[in-house]
């Protein structure tokens, strides 16, 4: 039995490679090849993401929620491997919840960002995770922290991430101005995500937005037919 089993194993991968009984995407890792964005404004942050999760060329989930709550006023935007980012977010949410109970006050966004950095840097060889941490706290107001693949940590007023982000660096650089209002940030994020979704095959679906401030979290969804119109069409 053992001999037969080991023979079967060596034939297995060759069989699937040679015939189409098993499609390619069953063997590809699930990834949130994606576009995510976070913008600070005076009094809070606006975050946004597309909603496509792919395994190879198959869209495993076309209505994914990549904006994950870590605490009441702290969210993270996930890009990279879906499994890795979900696992890290779970760990950080636990650590932050514990820390907040010890402190007996709401945690700082900077603390959440450092917890993400600690996990992403320590396990950098095993992980593929690009994360934007954004939220509001009483000490510094709205903040956005970028933890890209590799585990660096940097605070930026506006940041984009994911495979679709390359296409919107130019748009972001030219259209972001310091001291924008919440409505302007929401419009900027929705337009930027729409532009990226048009150009990046791994991004698409709907646009999910959230704004976080002292008053709480407001979430909204912009469906495909309601997205801003692009002039090149």
């Amino acid at each position: 039995m053992a001999a037969t089993a080991s023979m079967m194993q060596s034939f297995g991968p060759n069989l699937s490679a040679q015939n189409d009984l098993v499609p390619d995407w069953t063997r590809t890792e699930v990834s949130t090849g994606t576009t995510i964005m976070a913008v600070e404004y005076d009094g809070g942050v606006v975050i946004g993401a597309d909603s496509r999760t792919t395994t190879g060329a198959y869209i495993a989930n076309r209505v994914t929620d990549k904006l994950t709550p870590i605490h009441d006023r702290i969210f993270c935007c996930r890009s990279g491997s879906a499994a890795d980012t979900q696992a890290i977010a779970d760990v950080v949410a636990y650590q932050l919840g514990f820390h907040s109970i010890e402190l007996d006050e709401p945690p700082l966004v900077e603390t959440a960002a450092h917890l993400f950095k600690a996990s992403c840097y320590r396990y950098r060889e095993e992980l593929t995770a690009g994360i934007l941490v954004a939220g509001w706290d009483r000490r510094r107001g709205g903040q956005v922290y970028c933890v890209p693949i590799g585990g660096m940590l940097v605070r930026q007023p506006v940041s984009v991430g994911g495979s679709g982000s390359t296409y919107i660096y130019g748009f972001m650089d030219s259209n972001y101005k310091p001291s924008m209002s919440k409505e302007q940030c929401l419009e900027l994020t929705a337009t930027a995500l729409t532009l990226a979704m048009e150009r990046d095959g791994s991004s698409g679906g709907v646009v999910r937005l959230a704004s976080i401030s002292e008053d709480g979290v407001e979430r909204r969804v912009i469906l495909g037919n309601q997205l801003p119109k692009i002039s090149t069409h």
Binding site: Y169, G170, F171, P178, A192, R199, S231, T232
Partner: protein
């Protein structure tokens, strides 16, 4: 693995770059950066990548510097012969077709993408993309490694029916944004404006390029 990343294959004299061309009513505007890199080294920081194919037809070079320059030289020669044969100025589409024929025939050996743009009497200003051996006319075209960063910007900012001055401003802003984000693009911006009456070449130095929110203000 990425088509715009042709520069990854070139270790010596790669024109990883940002190029673009846009059509307006009555002509075209072409723009490019000026950096030629070999690995991490910049071997030429003031290279003009807008190459003349005929009086009113230019092309913008990207990818392998050697391949792109050679294609441009060969097509320049072929266009001269062709225009003598027909006894008048060649059409922009003819120039683009000559470039496309070389790019397609030698697509395995070559690693260059040329955007062909110009003005002719029959169809006015035209822009043609010849990536990987296809031929397509577009209102505007971007290319090179830096172009990935500005797809969103050009999609959002392009409007039909822009004037010549608006097109020039569009090209300069796009180049500036791409040069800020792409390590393989930089230096100065070269601009060529072609219309019925004249062909104007311009250089915009680094400190005269537009700046954006995260850059310190320009010195007077």
């Amino acid at each position: 693995h990425c088509r715009m990343g042709q520069e990854e294959r070139t270790s010596g004299g790669g024109l990883s770059t940002t190029i673009l061309a846009i059509e307006f009513d009555g002509g075209v505007v072409l723009g490019s950066d000026s950096r030629v890199s070999a690995g991490a080294s910049v071997v030429n920081r003031v290279m003009n990548k807008l190459s003349q194919l005929h009086d009113k037809i230019y092309c913008a070079l990207s990818g392998s510097a050697a391949d792109a320059q050679t294609i441009a030289e060969v097509v320049n020669y072929q266009l001269d012969v062709h225009s003598m044969e027909i006894g008048e100025d060649p059409q922009v589409r003819s120039a683009a077709t000559l470039v496309r024929n070389i790019s397609y025939k030698y697509k395995e050996e070559l690693s260059a993408h040329l955007i062909v743009a110009g003005w002719d009497r029959r169809k006015g200003g035209q822009v043609y993309a010849t990536l990987n051996g296809l031929l397509t006319r577009q209102p505007f075209a971007v290319g090179g490694s830096g172009s990935s960063y500005v797809y969103g910007f050009v999609d959002a900012e392009y409007r039909k029916g822009m004037s010549k001055e608006e097109c020039q401003k569009f090209v300069v802003s796009t180049l500036s944004l791409a040069m800020n984000r792409d390590g393989s693009s930089g230096g100065v911006a070269y601009l060529v404006t072609i219309d019925e009456h004249c062909t104007e070449e311009k250089v915009i130095l680094g400190n005269d390029l537009p700046t954006f929110y995260d850059q310190p203000p320009k010195y007077p």
